[in-house]
């Protein structure tokens, strides 16, 4: 069986410099090289730590290696100028390729019929004594479309759109890249931490030393809830959120859960984390001090701070772990608020007792504004459709030629799935025997 799949026809333009440039821009070889480079870069970026601080790099690599990393922007590989250059080159190449391919598709219709008898002789078909009408009806029943090529020869086609699959796939890759570009140019990301009752008008930018990102509205956390599995791992956490406009009117309210963001005016708010932000009241040698988490105070000459809070320490109620310096040596000690003997302790000669724990959870919301998302999603849809059309439908052509002696020769070609098509031809030849 000859299965053909003609690639875009050879162009015979005059060999001007522009033409030769555009030809090399559209060449598959360039595409392969650029894609290979993008893959290689990605490997490098996955191996080298991304977005770390100088200290982190110096603890991992030598100073020389760190300079090298900095010089080529390998600490942020996927946002380095030359990675963008590769992507741009790739996009240009793909555009050129696709344009050429679309041009090539145009001239396909007016193709001369092949030598049907030779194809049959080569095993790609069969000869039958049925009438042309019977053959035609049988093929129509399998949804083949007929096209008369000459007096003696007709072409029956099916799945000819399969040829456009490649164009759809390539276009979809471009659409996704375009969506990414839109997000890059017009998008914003940030983080908001809110305690119940608090409001925010802007999000903290994740990038270091960048200004806060204004939301364009006010967000208020009405309530926050977290439930746990019996083992203590968080099962679900959710924030009840209100969105207020400039005048303080509530314009939207809803519950944000992990995997269920809330969107308003192109801004999406995601439940990304939660934490505790407590304040702890201690009495140090009779004097009351209120401590935030990680805040250091001195008891006499000994500095101490709260390093950990647990709502339930075994069965003894809430407690905090306090770290302090015993001379040169850091030590830790648990204070339990509801256990008389563990509430007051002596550190560096000072009597310290835990009087109260106030506060509670804060909710961590991720904020993102990305107008590129619908474009990216459209690209995804196109890509899947293109893959389906290209790989799982195929272009079938069956030529039917009647000769002077009243015999009918039937020969077929398929763009792919040759075994499947062979079986179809077998069935056809049995039905028309």
């Amino acid at each position: 069986m000859t299965a053909t799949r003609s690639s875009s026809g050879k162009e015979t333009e005059p060999a001007s410099r522009v033409a030769s440039f555009s030809r090399s821009l559209a060449s598959v070889r360039l595409g392969i090289v650029v894609l290979g480079l993008i893959a290689a870069t990605s490997i490098v970026g996955s191996v080298i730590k991304q977005g770390g601080t100088e200290e982190e790099y110096l603890s991992l690599y030598s100073e020389k290696a760190y300079h090298f990393v900095k010089l080529f922007g390998l600490d942020d590989t996927y946002h380095s100028p030359w990675f963008y250059f590769l992507l741009a080159l790739f996009a240009l190449n793909l555009i050129a390729c696709t344009v050429r391919r679309i041009r090539g598709l145009g001239g396909k219709g007016a193709k001369a019929a092949p030598d049907v008898k030779a194809l049959v002789a080569a095993g790609s078909g069969f000869t039958t004594t049925r009438t042309p009408g019977e053959v035609s009806r049988r093929l129509a029943a399998s949804s083949y479309r007929k096209k008369q090529l000459s007096e003696t020869t007709a072409l029956y086609e099916k799945g000819s759109f399969s040829r456009y699959g490649v164009v759809v796939i390539h276009a979809s890759v471009l659409v996704v890249l375009l969506g990414g570009l839109i997000g890059l140019a017009a998008g914003d990301r940030g983080f908001i931490a809110l305690r119940v009752g608090e409001t925010a008008e802007a999000a903290v930018s994740r990038a270091r030393a960048r200004a806060p990102v204004p939301l364009g509205f006010t967000v208020r956390c009405k309530d926050f809830n977290v439930t746990f599995y019996p083992g203590g791992q968080p099962k679900e956490y959710a924030s009840d959120i209100e969105i207020l406009d400039g005048t303080g009117k509530v314009v939207k309210a809803g519950r944000i859960k992990v995997n269920e963001p809330l969107s308003y005016n192109g801004v999406r708010l995601y439940q990304s984390s939660y934490g505790t932000s407590n304040s702890y009241t201690f009495r140090v040698d009779g004097k009351e001090v209120v401590l935030a988490e990680q805040e250091v105070v001195k008891a006499g000459r000994t500095p101490f701070m709260v390093v950990r809070y647990a709502p339930q320490v075994h069965d003894f109620g809430p407690g905090v772990m306090v770290a302090y310096m015993d001379g040169e040596e850091p030590k830790t000690l648990w204070f339990l608020k509801d256990v008389e003997r563990m509430r007051t302790r002596v550190i560096g000669g000072s009597r310290i007792s835990l009087e109260g724990i106030a506060g509670g959870y804060y909710t961590g919301l991720e904020m993102s504004r990305d107008p590129g998302v619908p474009v990216v999603l459209a690209g995804f849809g196109l890509m899947l459709a293109g893959l389906y059309i290209n790989f799982f439908t195929f272009h079938r052509r069956i030529y039917v030629m009647s000769d002077d002696a009243g015999g009918i020769h039937v020969a077929g070609m398929a763009s792919r799935n040759r075994e499947g098509f062979l079986e179809e031809m077998d069935r056809l030849s049995k039905d028309l025997a």
């Binding site: 595409g31 990605s42 995997n259």
Partner: protein, 270 residues
């Protein structure tokens, strides 16, 4: 009461039996053995499906009901299941030696899952980020892709061995290889895209260059390159074979390597 552990244990033993059945077949070349092996595969697959289903039911009894697709152990079991599924679906086009490779891989995965001390086998609660229907589509498509690429790898590896009646001819291997790359590439694309959509809902960003994402992209590019080299560069023979082996090495890095060498959002490890 029968637990999923028992059933999965039995299916592991059946994979072992399957492995030896094929070895006996290669020695004796009796058609009857081949038929026995085929039924053995069906029974094993059915049992494994039941085992996975039972684990799902048991997770509900423990008060943390979720599909068994969420930790390393569960993914190993599912990988082995997906390989058998691909073997059954592609059976018309496959050869005993390829099915044998698949059975050997399934056996290795099951044995590793149930014996390695490094694998946590208990049913664990599902962290909130994983509580999404996208998880199911994402995991299923990814593992079907990996399984199809395993077939491609087998074809590539076998290409370098002499025929001797066991290994199909080179042209046949190439045809099967191409077919499985098509399935694998389509599935991997679906896997990456559903993963991106899910990340969009869970983290607010459809792509964040986390190592697992990055490696799945690398794998995707490798197979895209194979398709293009084949189509436009006329890539054939030993080179196709070699590239399918490289492609699968990238799959292995994406699935295993990233968990062990690179840290990120996707690591099954705690």
């Amino acid at each position: 009461m029968i637990t999923h552990d028992t059933i999965l244990g039995i299916s592991t033993i059946l994979y072992l039996a399957l492995f030896f059945l094929y070895i006996v077949y290669f020695a004796a070349r009796r058609k009857g053995i081949l038929r026995t092996a085929w039924y053995c595969l069906l029974v094993t697959f059915a049992l494994q499906t039941a085992g996975i289903g039972l684990r799902w039911v048991e997770s509900y009894r423990l008060g943390m009901g979720h599909a068994p697709l969420s930790n390393y152990y569960e993914s190993l079991i599912f990988f082995s299941w997906a390989i058998s599924l691909i073997m059954i679906v592609m059976r018309k086009r496959l050869y005993p030696v390829i099915t044998f490779t698949g059975a050997a891989a399934s056996l290795a995965l099951m044995a590793y899952a149930s014996l390695s001390p490094g694998v946590e086998r208990g049913i664990q609660p599902l962290i909130p980020a994983l509580q999404s229907n996208w998880l199911h589509v994402h995991v299923i498509t990814c593992f079907l892709a990996y399984s199809a690429f395993l077939v491609s790898f087998a074809c590539g590896g076998l290409y370098f061995f002499e025929s001797r009646g066991i290994v199909p001819p080179g042209q046949t291997l190439e045809d099967i290889n191409y077919r499985s790359i098509i399935i694998g590439f389509s599935m991997l694309t679906s896997g990456i895209l559903t993963g991106a959509v899910w990340a969009h809902y869970a983290w607010g960003s459809y792509w964040s260059w986390d190592p697992k994402e990055t490696w799945s992209l690398i794998t995707w590019i490798v197979y895209a390159l194979i398709l293009h080299l084949r189509f436009t560069g006329g890539l054939r023979g030993r080179r196709t074979a070699l590239l399918s082996i490289i492609g699968f090495a990238s799959v292995v890095m994406t699935y295993f390597g990233v968990n062990f060498f690179l840290a990120g959002l996707h690591s099954y490890a705690t």
